[in-house]
Symmetry: C2
Subunit: 407 residues, 2 copies
């Protein structure tokens, strides 16, 4: 008799974004004439630049001819792409990142969700609160937590609050933990960790044999060159950290699907397992490589021309971020993030709750935001606004907020 | 202190295909002049037909323009593609398969490996022996088994031997089991289950509230129209079976990456969980949809023209199968499969072991096969030959076997 995974029962009803889509749809059906402006999901909107389109086209064309057709590739990814990622992305690493420490995937979401499989079920995980929901949900599904408490926190998870008080970067946890998830530039708060802040965690992790899962999916949005774009810019990180990154936001690949994870060969668990070997085994057994077409696009995106062209798109999104931030601040709303990060973390006026403000913003200004409480209890009282959108739509949304939101 | 998943330690050294590649490479390095002919991995070799190339090209072109650019799609897949799969693939289903029962993925391997997550850790799984290694390995990694025994079987797994005696289709297991994996057309034996054979399992599963994971990745290779191409051609299957399929072999998408899984909404576990909802939650949390380019290719592959063109490629591979089978039989070698399936299951002459014959075939005929024991203990004494290859290479390989193999 087949029984279900009991850990799934610990999950609340809906994953944040489908829930958000549902509520937006309901509003739309009730108000059929109203045009809704979306600042909710961090979904790219700008077309791919010509060099990447060319790269993807090459990928397709190769499949049309018997001389260049390829079937299964290496589960770990195209060798050229792995080398290119190592070269382009980890120039500033304290210790060199090798191509065989890079595992290409179909995106950061899968890797972020799957990486926990490498660790024992008893591992205690620590997460930033608020955080990208996948860190928590994947661990809930793996049975690493208890039930959800009334305050929205799960039993068994150590929450590291990121609040106005600590500048949205957490203190070292007081409790014993085994795995720490850190995201910088942060989704949803837009906060970017400094080298000093990361160093504290790296030193602590090495001392206590903790593994850090570092999510750097938004690193291209860092304009301030003194801020670290990779945890490997911190001495010792190759002995304690896995880094997950993606082409989604920096190259507009949210639909194309391509990402990578760095698992240093020097990274060992307390019980003597080499995490590079474990991840290799995991990927060889449960994954069959990223699409060869997407990988050709990834190679093009990391070429000189590709980097230049994607920079223009990133600049466009960051101008949006500035428009959102300034617009909201002009009507007295408190905003964080939006500099070195494509997300604006907005404080709800008048102590409103996240979902209440979500409804208010939708009803009064017809703008969709993401309720901060969806990212964890410390997100309560905030909403996330995304800079991914066409500039004219962003401007319209901000104008509508300025004109119609009653605060 | 981070500790590793102890279940990973139960896995033997290498996944079958990387191991095979390693041994082949070692031979190659020792004999640098020798041209190796590969009948090992089931990797497609023929270029994609024009309609699919066109479809993929449309997918790329859409991303170049602001009007047609798409980012994140539905985690469950493109609606048009889901509808098309339901229509084209499940015409003969006893009960209609709906589009929202189809979940598009990046390929059958991922789904095959991930589907076990939905079930309790205590679930006892039954697998055909021999079988595609992912069924066993994904359950080993999930901690659902004990250690591997000397005979190559894992403690805690129920093996259903598929042998010459039972025509390579298993009996109903005697032991209590919860989940049964069945693959037809079978990888590696090439055996195809009849309706009567599947009905026995479906009836047994319904009676005992067992879930069948049915792998139909090779259904397009069935030429005999009396044989079922889907388990949903069996009455009641919608109450007990999940079906996993792929564009890899039928449309040459081994590198493009696209597959799907059918989870009927009527499929419940003993403890009352709806598996369609659970899989939906799993995919929404841990997967971000298949590549939008690949999905455009999938739509093209299921169009009339696409189906006609892919049929020609399948015909080519099946002619290869016939060449292999007839060639080997002409020198007195016993072969199974190769009809309604792209794999030939060859009995090693003179009671040789699978790996011994692998070495002999490589050394004497310079042909790579896949050792049957790699698919499970009952595969010992057999090797798998794959019909995926250019016809001229297949002919050469068979000529070399006929000329050089000393039996």
């Amino acid at each position: 008799m087949a029984n279900s995974n009991p850990a799934y029962k610990n999950l609340p009803g809906g994953y944040l974004f489908p829930e958000l889509a549902k509520r937006t749809r309901a509003f739309s059906e009730k108000h059929p004439g109203v045009k809704i402006m979306r600042l909710g999901i961090g979904n790219t909107t700008e077309p791919l630049p010509s060099s990447i389109i060319k790269g993807l086209g090459v990928g397709v064309k190769k499949l049309a001819s018997v001389e260049t057709y390829t079937g299964y590739g290496d589960e770990q990814g195209n060798t050229e792409l792995r080398k290119k990622i190592a070269e382009v992305k980890y120039k500033k690493a304290v210790e060199k990142i090798e191509a065989d420490e890079i595992f290409v995937s179909d995106g950061a979401k899968s890797d972020t969700a799957n990486i926990q499989e490498l660790f024992s079920k008893e591992s205690i995980i620590a997460i930033q609160d608020p955080a990208y929901p996948v860190y928590v949900d994947s661990n809930v599904m793996a049975g690493r937590t208890g039930k959800i408490r009334e305050n929205g926190q799960y039993e068994g998870i150590v929450y590291m609050p990121c609040t106005e008080k600590n500048g949205f970067f957490p203190e070292i946890p007081q409790e014993k933990v085994d795995i720490i998830y850190i995201c910088s530039p942060n989704n949803p708060t837009g906060a970017v960790a400094t080298k000093e802040q990361l160093k504290k965690f790296v030193d602590y992790a090495i001392k206590n044999k903790i593994v850090i899962i570092f999510d750097s999916a938004y690193e291209r949005f860092i304009y301030d060159s003194s801020l670290p774009r990779s945890i490997y810019e911190i001495p010792g990180a190759k002995r304690c950290a896995i880094e997950i990154n993606s082409f989604s936001k920096e190259a507009g690949f949210t639909g194309v699907r391509l990402g990578w994870t760095v698992v240093p060969k020097t990274l060992m668990t307390e019980d003597g397992a080499n995490l590079n070997s474990l991840w290799n085994r995991r990927q060889c057994t449960k994954f069959n490589g990223a699409s060869n077409i997407a990988q050709e696009g990834g190679i093009a995106a990391l070429d000189k021309k590709g980097l230049k062209e994607t920079q223009k798109v990133i600049d466009l999104y960051m101008k949006n971020a500035s428009v959102i931030k300034k617009g909201l601040e002009s009507i007295g709303i408190k905003c964080y993030g939006g500099v070195n990060a494509p997300y604006i973390w907005m404080k709800c006026p008048n102590q409103m709750s996240s979902w209440d403000f979500f409804s208010k913003l939708l009803e009064e200004a017809n703008v969709v935001c993401t309720p901060g409480s969806g990212f964890g209890p410390s997100g309560e009282g905030f909403v996330r606004l995304s800079a991914f959108g066409h500039p004219k739509d962003i401007k319209k949304a901000i104008e509508s907020i300025k004109k119609n939101l009653k605060i």
